[in-house]
Every structure is written in structure tokens, then in C-alpha cells.
Symmetry: C2
Amino acid sequence: MKQEVESMLKSKEINPTVNRMLVLDYLLELKSSISLTDLELSLESFDRVTLYRTLKTFEERGLVHKIEDGMGITKFAICQDSCKAGMHHDLHVHFYCHNCKQTFCLPKTQIPEVKLPENYQRQEMELIVKGICSACAK
Amino acid sequence: MKQEVESMLKSKEINPTVNRMLVLDYLLELKSSISLTDLELSLESFDRVTLYRTLKTFEERGLVHKIEDGMGITKFAICQDSCKAGMHHDLHVHFYCHNCKQTFCLPKTQIPEVKLPENYQRQEMELIVKGICSACAK
DNA sequence: ATAAAAATTGCAATACAGTTGCATGCTGTT
DNA sequence: AACAGCATGCAACTGTATTGCAATTTTTAT
């Protein structure tokens, strides 16, 4: 497992330090996305700034993507399916749970072209669905 | 004009103070949405906190809605068409311009049901389209 | 019209996410 | 071992959001 994490980092040209391997490992296990603050609480062994810079590096190298959760909080998640398909900067569909405050990446959904006013140029889209997740619905 | 602004406030059960009338008047003229900071810069006569509370009151009474612009900044805009149709808390489509950083409310667009995982409950949706607005495209 | 009550406003202060600079420490190389 | 280069931690700063409280304005009841 450690090997896998290490080679993932290397393949993105990121030095596999202890910190980075821990963070990546944690993110891989994670089923939703996470904010810097929550990451700090989960991995207390490292300084907030270090984690901040780790996430920033990961994002720059295309290992994770940044999510605005629709409530003003920035979260990070491992790039999945759609990202791998080269959609990294195109379309994101996320689900925000009002109860547990978690943000989940939803499987890619077809969204029709949005009719823009004259001369508007579309570059990216973000769709945030808010509600209650299955775990909280029980 | 002042009469109109005043009666708008009264109809929402908001005391029509000088501050509130100025803010509402300003928002009515506005073609896009505005952040607290930008409002503060535009209406220097009032304290930031007062404007903050004014916007909060307006939002609570359904006069404006809050927008996460997709870049982590909260903005406010007068509720338009779709809001009036009782959609206030249902679906918002906004356009964020990477160049001028403005966020525009887009005319209501049909968005199909997003397929949610088992047992997820949808309450609201927010669609942010990012790109270049017509004014900046020139 | 006036006084009391209630609501609004301004100032100060706090909370917190995000960010940067710099000194220290670790890693790998010659 | 000495050096270069990157990584990390600490302190500090920015900017937005938010609250408490005292002062002021507005409303309400006489």
C-alpha cells in the first residue's frame, strides 16, 4: 500500500515525503472531500501550514481538486473518474449534506448546455446539489 | 422612486430606514450581484457592520438571495423572476466572470434531474457557470 | 407633541480561513 | 563531511464574517 501511494506521488512529480504520503493515503480512504481545518484535526501530527501547502501542491500537480462546497468552505478531494477523463477543469457535480456538512463528488452527470446571454463565454461549470445524504437520512 | 423602495421594504415587513432604502435602491439599479466589501465601497456613508446586518435582514425577509460565487466569495442580489415564482430556495443559475469577477444571475434554465445515489435527498441546487462575460469579451 | 419603548446603528473586538516570510531541519549529492 | 535544495514549523498578517454593547434613531403610546 505504501508503495502504491509513493508511486502515485512520484508519477505526479511530487517528492514522497512522510507528510505527503500520509495525506494522500488519508485522502484515498476518504469517501467525501475534506477542508483544510478538518484535515488538520484528522492528522494532528503536522502543522496547518504544511497541510495547506501539501494540498496546494497536490492540486497544482493534478492529484486533487478544489471544491467550493456552496457554503463558503473550500474542500479538497482526490480526482476521480471524470477528472481522469480530462474533465478536471470542466464540470464538477457535488452534493452537500446540510446535516453532516460533508461534500461528496457525484458520478458525472449529463448537464445540457446552459443558454448564456449574448457573447458570454463558458469555460467551466460547477453544480452543487444540496440536501441530505444517505447516511444522515436514516 | 423613493416611494416604491419604501413600499417594497414595508411589504416585506422591514422598517424603511435611510440606510435600508439606500441599499435597496442601490441593489435595484445593480445589474449583477455584489459582495459586502464592494457594497461598503459603493456606499461609504454606512458602517460595514450595518451593511452586513442590512443584507442579512434582507435575505431573511426574502428580498435578496445569497450567492456563493464559486470562488469563495459571498454575494447578494435582488431576488428576480424565478425567486418571485417561489423558487427562492430551489435553483440558482449564476455566471461568474473570471475577468471582472462579477457574478450575474442567469435567466432560469431548465436543468434535468441529477441522478443521486441511493437515498440521497435533494433540497436545493446551485449551478455556477464560469467564463467571460460579454462586457469583458469585447 | 412628547416621553417611553423598541429597533437600528457604529465602534470595538473576536473568530477563523487563507496566506506569506523566514529560520530551521532534513535529504540526497559530490 | 559539506553543500544545495526542498520541506517544515512558527509567527505574523490579511480579509471576511460575526458578536456585544453603548449610543442613536425610529416607532409607539399617551
